[in-house]
């Protein structure tokens, strides 16, 4: 048996791993908690703790093992669970913080850094359980480190629940206040969605959807550094050729996700769900999505042309990745968080990227207004209006959109907010000062849009 690969192919792979930060961003185990419901919430929480610990007992060890076997770093191992509102609702209790604490303990026991699913799906209306969960979010995120919350307030088929949007504006502000001593970091663990997906492996918005099996493995690949390097080597080709370069690169990156996902699924004896082929930046140098747009020919991200460049990047990543995996899912696109992307932070400080431009860019990529610090005195109605705008983009364009903004307590425009680690740092960005309160207070639902006459 001889070597089947050319030296160029072999060296390309070695270079991707060694020099360009090719890694698997996350292996996320989705665990159903539907069989943990109980009239006594303490009992339900204990059952959830036990089920998570049992199902994910070997998750971290297997992740480390695969990392050793294949020599590809697996940065995060995580767990997502059934939206807690569905599980906790059977109990008489209306304070779900006890459940969040149990999830925190389970995450600590199995050794994962985030656990998603303190969630509710309220795009058409709220049940008492949904309301209880939403009311519990600020405290739950203040007293836990690893638990992530998300609320789905709209879908293309149901429209937007503006009562929920208004409430989430208040919840975001309250969550920031509860974690005021840490620049409102609680909000970094809270996502408000439109068209949320059930198999997203990325935090903070991961939850284990109701159409999912009892337990499943989803993999999130990344690799902005690899795409960046591939584009840097081609300064003179036209955009059609550039799209091909991105597709080929995305294909190779996604293949690694497929390899790791299949391997993890076999080792854990758990079905393999999907590969999410997102380009997810980290604050590390050379791991920036914004930098890719700049290398495509923009002086700084946020300037005119950014939306077009991002649209092409996002689509090419999807096209290349879709062919590489038997099951693509999750969010699958380019992420443009501000605080988690070095070039985006620079652009925000320099003032070339603004809140409104970010909103425009979310029309053509996954996922939304992500990790943006805004003034601490922003009224809840303004946050709600931001959520409504972003949900409208998702609803009309039949895509997932999300809002994860941090009204940093006591901070003004231009101040820096430091979250540390993967969550990064960000300058507080300016918002419109004019009030949206009367619009938000109308409440009710924005009707589902027509699915024809798309112009």
């Amino acid at each position: 048996m001889s070597i089947q690969f050319s030296p160029q192919e072999i060296l390309e792979t070695i270079r991707m791993v060694q020099m360009e930060n090719l890694d698997i961003r996350t292996i996320t185990m989705g665990i159903s908690l539907r069989n943990c419901a109980h009239p006594d919430l303490e009992v339900a929480a204990a059952k959830a703790y036990e089920k998570i610990c049992r199902a994910a007992e070997r998750l971290v060890a297997v992740g480390d093992e695969i990392e050793r076997d294949y020599g590809i770093p697996i940065i995060n191992k995580r767990v997502s669970v059934t939206p807690v509102a569905l599980v906790a609702e059977s109990s008489a209790s209306r304070d779900y913080v006890v459940f969040a604490r149990a999830l925190e303990r389970a995450a600590a026991t199995v050794g994962v850094n985030f656990l998603g699913g303190f969630s509710a799906l309220v795009h058409k209306g709220m049940t008492p359980g949904d309301e209880a969960l939403i009311n519990s979010i600020p405290e739950a995120l203040a007293v836990t480190e690893r638990v992530c919350a998300s609320v789905n307030v709209g879908t293309t088929r149901a429209g937007i629940n503006m009562d929920a949007v208004r409430r989430m504006g208040e919840i975001v502000c309250e969550t920031a206040q509860r974690t005021a001593d840490r620049d409102g970091v609680g909000c970094a663990k809270l996502v408000v969605f439109c068209n949320a997906v059930e198999d997203n492996p990325f935090m903070a918005g991961a939850f284990h959807g109701i159409g999912e099996p009892d337990c499943v493995i989803n993999v999130g690949v990344s690799g902005p550094g690899v795409v960046l390097r591939a584009i840097e080597q081609q300064p003179d080709i036209d955009l059609g050729e550039l799209a091909s370069v991105i597709k080929r690169t995305a294909f190779k990156i996604t293949r690694m996700g497929e390899l790791v996902g299949r391997s993890a699924s076999a080792k854990l004896g758990v079905p393999f769900g999907i590969v999410d082929l997102s380009l997810a930046p980290t604050p590390a140098q050379g791991d920036s999505v914004a930098r890719i747009l700049e290398v495509m020919g923009l002086e700084r991200v946020g300037t005119h042309g950014s939306t077009a460049a991002l649209a092409m990047l996002n689509d090419a990543v999807k096209k290349g990745g879709a062919m590489a995996s038997s099951h693509v899912g999750g969010l699958s696109g380019a992420f443009i968080p501000v605080s988690e992307d070095a070039a985006m932070i620079d652009a925000a400080i320099a003032g070339s990227i603004t809140f409104d431009k970010l909103e425009a860019m979310t029309c053509v990529c996954s996922v939304g207004l992500d990790m943006i610090a805004v003034p601490g005195d922003t009224p809840p109605e303004t946050i709600a209006a931001i959520i409504a705008d972003e949900a409208a983009i998702g609803m009309i364009n039949r895509k997932t959109t999300a809002v994860r903004v941090i009204p940093a307590p006591g901070k003004k425009v231009g101040d820096m907010v430091e979250f540390g680690g993967l969550l990064g740092r960000a300058p507080v960005m300016a918002l419109h000062r004019e009030s949206s309160a009367a619009f938000v207070r109308r409440g009710g639902r924005i009707p589902a849009p027509l699915q024809a006459f798309n112009n």
Partner: protein, 94 residues
């Protein structure tokens, strides 16, 4: 996964010098790792040696072998890497 292989590809990149093959193959022999195929080429003025190594009867785990190769590479002023064959299979073959 189709027939799980336990083969790794070892790459040596750097300036050509006396004893590269001898050193690397001694290290692999000590670990009881079998060299299945070997090729040499010059890519962009760099000497490149590529070995296909069967780990089936190896006495040390892959990560330990990889560590030893890295250390040996540093001592010789070369870059020596090892990567599982499946990684290349997945990335470069549809």
């Amino acid at each position: 996964m189709q027939q799980p292989s336990n083969r790794v590809i070892v790459t040596v990149i750097g300036e050509d010098k006396v004893g590269i093959i001898a050193n690397v193959s001694t290290l692999l022999a000590e670990a009881n790792a079998n060299i299945v195929d070997i090729s040499q080429t010059t890519l962009r003025e760099f000497f490149t040696m590529i070995m296909l190594v069967d780990m089936d009867k190896a006495l040390v785990p892959f990560d330990e072998l990889k560590r030893r190769l890295n250390v040996k590479g540093e001592a010789m002023g070369l870059r020596i890497d090892a990567q599982h064959e499946d990684v290349f299979k997945f990335m470069h073959r549809v």
